[in-house]
């Protein structure tokens, strides 16, 4: 038996992850990974860099996007987590610089 969806004729109001952040379990589910995958990457500073190492971890939009990119690179290129993080960091920097150039009218 499958879940029956609730009627959806009314407008759905989504929740911005930056207003209500995800727990470890919710982030893991959104990335289709085990919670331990998330925990390991927080403990090594790959996710939530600088976070309290013990508890209270909450994840916003930026973390979800980053976690999914990390997972994709790890799987696609058989990369270890540190290498995947390096690729994502470099890619983020390229995007940031491109956005900066574009903002100032240089394409």
């Amino acid at each position: 038996m499958q879940t029956t969806y609730k009627p959806t004729t009314d407008a759905l109001i989504g929740v911005l992850l930056d207003d209500v952040a995800l727990t470890v379990e919710e982030l893991a589910r959104a990335c289709a990974v085990e919670p331990e995958w998330v925990v390991q990457r927080v403990r090594t500073g790959i996710l939530l860099d600088g976070a309290n190492q013990d508890s209270g971890w909450r994840f916003t939009s930026v973390d979800l996007v980053r976690a999914r990119r990390l997972r994709d690179i790890e799987i696609t290129f058989d990369a270890n987590d540190e290498l995947a993080a390096l690729v994502v960091d470099l890619s983020d920097e390229v995007r940031r610089l491109k956005a900066r150039l574009s903002a100032t009218g240089v394409d």
Partner: protein, 308 residues
């Protein structure tokens, strides 16, 4: 919908091994990755590659693709056979990707295959992007998206239902933010709840504006006399027409900051106006005369600092 040849997209034979497919994907995705590629269509190609590898890189999805795709040619109109559920969410009006339309339900099949009496499994979370305009971010908006949701009939055959969702986009969203719609992901099994649907906010390109977080950049053309003498000018901004003071002695590239007129939020962004001095053409006798008068009387040498 048109049939897409994923083997062709990855440049491999239909008989390619999983390893060959992976190698081909790795090579091409590095070549066309939008962060490094100079190819003009890099972004589009990367999406195509990801879509193709999303199917061919998964044995089960590849088998399903081969099953429905036999005899099809790339670009040929494709009608899913009866019993095939659609799969995934696609913003209405956008090009939904072929894989999403046909094969995302395979994950549901996988869950269902192991399901005996009492088997329960929460539905998978789904991800999609939703394209909005800058005006939508300033004012909030609603968007209609169509979901093709996999279902199973009483005989266990795959079917699909189409659901239309009206989604409210809150005011003040920025690119990359994730909007979570609880219970709108893949259906659960055995009475378990459905997964969630995550929508990533994307901005439709708009030649008038450039974005950096909540800050908005806009180029504003001004005349030489407005730039030289200063002026009050009307500028159409994302939040309406505003009157702006152009300071005297302005040059192209001067940046005017309108605090708090970027994308709204608890910490609203700023709007930056980049002045661009535009010269009138000397295309009439009178215009030529005016330029000649300036040339004669201003003794202006913009290359003086270069030693000229």
């Amino acid at each position: 919908m048109d049939y897409k040849d994923y083997y062709q997209a990855l440049g491999v034979e239909k008989s390619a091994t999983a390893d060959e497919i992976k190698k081909a994907y790795r090579k091409l995705v590095r070549k066309y990755h939008p962060d490094v590629s100079k190819e003009p269509d890099a972004d589009k190609r990367t999406k195509e590659l990801n879509e193709a590898y999303g199917v061919l890189g998964d044995a089960e999805k590849r088998a399903a693709y081969d099953e429905v795709g036999s005899g099809q040619q790339a670009g040929q109109e494709f009608r899913p056979p009866p019993g095939w559920g659609g799969g995934y969410e696609a913003p209405s009006g956008d090009d939904s990707d072929f894989f999403a339309d046909l094969f995302a339900h395979v994950g549901g099949r996988r869950g269902g295959a192991g399901g005996g009496a009492g088997f329960q499994m929460r539905g998978e979370d789904s991800h999609a992007s939703i394209s909005i305009s800058l005006a939508d971010a300033y004012n909030g908006a609603s968007r209609t998206i169509v979901l093709r949701v996999p279902q199973r009939d009483a005989q266990g055959r795959a079917t699909s239902t189409e659901r239309t969702l009206n989604v409210t986009i809150p005011k003040g969203v920025t690119a990359g933010q994730q909007l979570r719609l609880g219970g709108q992901g893949q259906p659960g099994h055995g009475g378990a709840p459905a997964g969630d649907l995550y929508l990533e906010i994307e901005f439709a390109p708009d030649a008038r504006y450039r974005l950096e977080g909540r800050d908005v950049y806009q180029t504003v053309p001004v005349t030489p006399w407005e730039a030289a003498l200063g002026a009050q000018i009307d500028v159409v901004t994302p939040s309406g027409t505003v009157q702006v003071t152009v300071p005297e002695k302005s040059q192209t590239g001067r940046k005017l900051r309108l605090k708090g007129r970027g994308i709204p939020g608890a910490s609203a962004g700023d709007l930056y106006l980049l002045l661009e001095v535009v010269l009138p053409l000397a295309d009439t006798a009178r215009a030529r005369e005016l330029y000649e008068t300036m040339a004669r009387e201003l003794a202006f040498n913009p290359r003086q600092k270069m030693g000229a």
